[in-house]
């Protein structure tokens, strides 16, 4: 039995107390890889609505946070790509969901800025595209930059391979993706992990996300989806 020394190990019900209608929600993952199945499923089943969703993409219709998008639970997405979930494009075109597209590298720097206590960052990605027309510009040593403000959220739901009771995390291969960045940028951070290990069992040199960033750890099965590449087989 793992001792709950820091009172961070919780249940799915405990976690859901923090996810209410209108939540500004960051969801880790890239095309569902690195998204937390249990939490995604529960948000869909409980019909949490008016979500402001901050995620790399819209998942697939039955993968990741995709079902919540498909069901119309999301009022606004701040994202980089929605092409893998046709329902997202449909809702957007019908005016039922607002979508703010950000170039992927900029998206992560804005979230990282939020997580590192910065007001924003200077970069020039997309400076020639109409997508950045609304952004303020700043001239630094003769080079024109865009001012990309920090992005933060109320709650992050993330996925890790292992956590210890303090919430120190290590990830699994490409399921790392957005998770360590989002872990720093929200007021309340919930992690679904494959395994909870004893305090001291993780090599401190290998910890990717220090537990200071993590508020709650849950584990368990349920909500696992079938990947698109599995369906084609």
């Amino acid at each position: 039995m793992i001792e709950n020394t820091f009172h961070k190990i919780g249940t799915l019900d405990d976690a859901m107390k923090h996810i209410r209608d209108g939540v500004r929600l960051m969801v880790g993952g890239f095309g569902g890889v690195g998204s937390p199945p249990l939490l995604c499923k529960e948000i869909a089943e409980r019909g949490i609505k008016d979500i402001v969703l901050i995620s790399n993409d819209a998942g697939f219709p039955e993968v990741g946070i995709g079902p919540c998008v498909k069901a119309g639970q999301v009022s606004k997405m701040i994202t980089t790509h929605i092409g893998s979930n046709p329902f997202a494009g449909k809702l957007m075109n019908e005016g039922l969901m607002d979508v703010e597209f950000i170039p992927q590298g900029t998206f992560y720097e804005q979230i990282r800025a939020g997580g590192m206590g910065l007001g924003g960052v200077l970069l020039d990605t997309g400076i020639d595209s109409e997508i950045t027309d609304h952004m303020d510009r700043y001239d630094l040593d003769g080079h024109e930059y865009l001012i990309a403000p920090a992005i933060t959220g109320d709650v992050a739901i993330l996925y890790a391979k292992k956590a210890d009771p303090y919430g120190n995390l290590i990830y699994d291969k490409t399921a790392r993706c957005s998770n360590p960045i989002m872990a720093t940028a929200c007021k309340y951070v919930i992690v679904q992990t494959e395994e909870i290990v004893e305090l001291g069992a993780l090599d401190p040199d290998e910890i990717v996300t220090p537990g200071i960033y993590v508020d709650m750890i849950i584990t368990g099965k349920g909500g696992e989806w079938t990947w698109a590449w599995e369906q084609k087989k």
């Binding site: 992927q104 990282r112 993706c177």
Partner: protein, 221 residues
């Protein structure tokens, strides 16, 4: 058995590579380029989702759902490969550490502008990492059909669709010919066997110079 059109394009694209290059492959035909890279080149393939050193497709039944490429397809990692978070992944791109990006296109124009992220009101996928890659990679090699499904030229005088990045394209490999930007001019440099200069020019809207040293890429029988 000979190679299909897409495979011919991918094979030609792989000829752009130099040893130890770091490259990124977009979704679609660009993904096929990996099949034509000789191991002795030690090319490192970068994936936006946070890996460097994408290897061959796994044997069916041995896929790891947590090792995928940026197209969401299971892959493997070569020896010397690494995983990292999305921020670092794009830091590599933004700092110009990707030597070549192979991308698909909706339109390219004679100034080298690229449009590949949105058809307003119709297809709204979003740019994903496309803007970062198109603007920041050392070279942008476009892999695209010469014309769209209706037979309209995809290499235009001026892009009509919202652009992804300005003056970014270096080389265009189509199903029928290869074009390069030389001194900011679009130049027809190679023909796939079975095509003539006149035919290519007739199907290309952009103003094109024809190389004096035009080469023929022979079909693989």
């Amino acid at each position: 058995m000979g190679l299909g059109t897409k495979e011919m394009m991918a094979k030609r694209a792989a000829m752009e590579l130099e040893p130890f290059a770091v490259i990124n492959l977009g979704i679609g035909i660009p993904t096929l380029v990996a099949d034509y890279i000789d191991e002795s080149m030690h090319v490192m393939i970068h994936g936006e989702n946070g890996l460097l050193g994408i290897g061959a497709a796994p044997v069916s039944g041995h896929e790891d759902p947590n090792i995928i490429n940026a197209g969401g397809i299971p892959c493997t990692l070569v020896k010397g490969g690494s995983y990292f978070d999305s921020g670092m992944s794009f830091g590599m791109i933004r700092r110009g550490l990707i030597d070549i990006t192979f991308l698909g296109a909706l339109e390219v124009d004679e100034e080298g502008n690229l449009a590949n992220w949105i058809v307003p009101g119709k297809t709204v996928p979003g740019m994903g990492g496309g803007m970062d890659l198109a603007q920041k990679a050392g070279r942008v090699v476009v892999l695209s059909m010469l014309t769209d499904k209706k037979g309209h030229s995809k290499i235009r005088r001026k892009c009509k669709l919202p652009i992804t990045a300005k003056r970014c394209v270096d080389t265009i490999i189509t199903d029928r010919a290869v074009f390069r930007f030389l001194d900011k001019k679009l130049v027809l440099t190679e023909l796939f066997e079975g095509n003539t200069v006149e035919e290519i020019l007739a199907d290309t809207e952009a103003e094109v110079l024809v190389s004096e040293d035009i080469k023929i890429i022979e079909s693989v029988k």
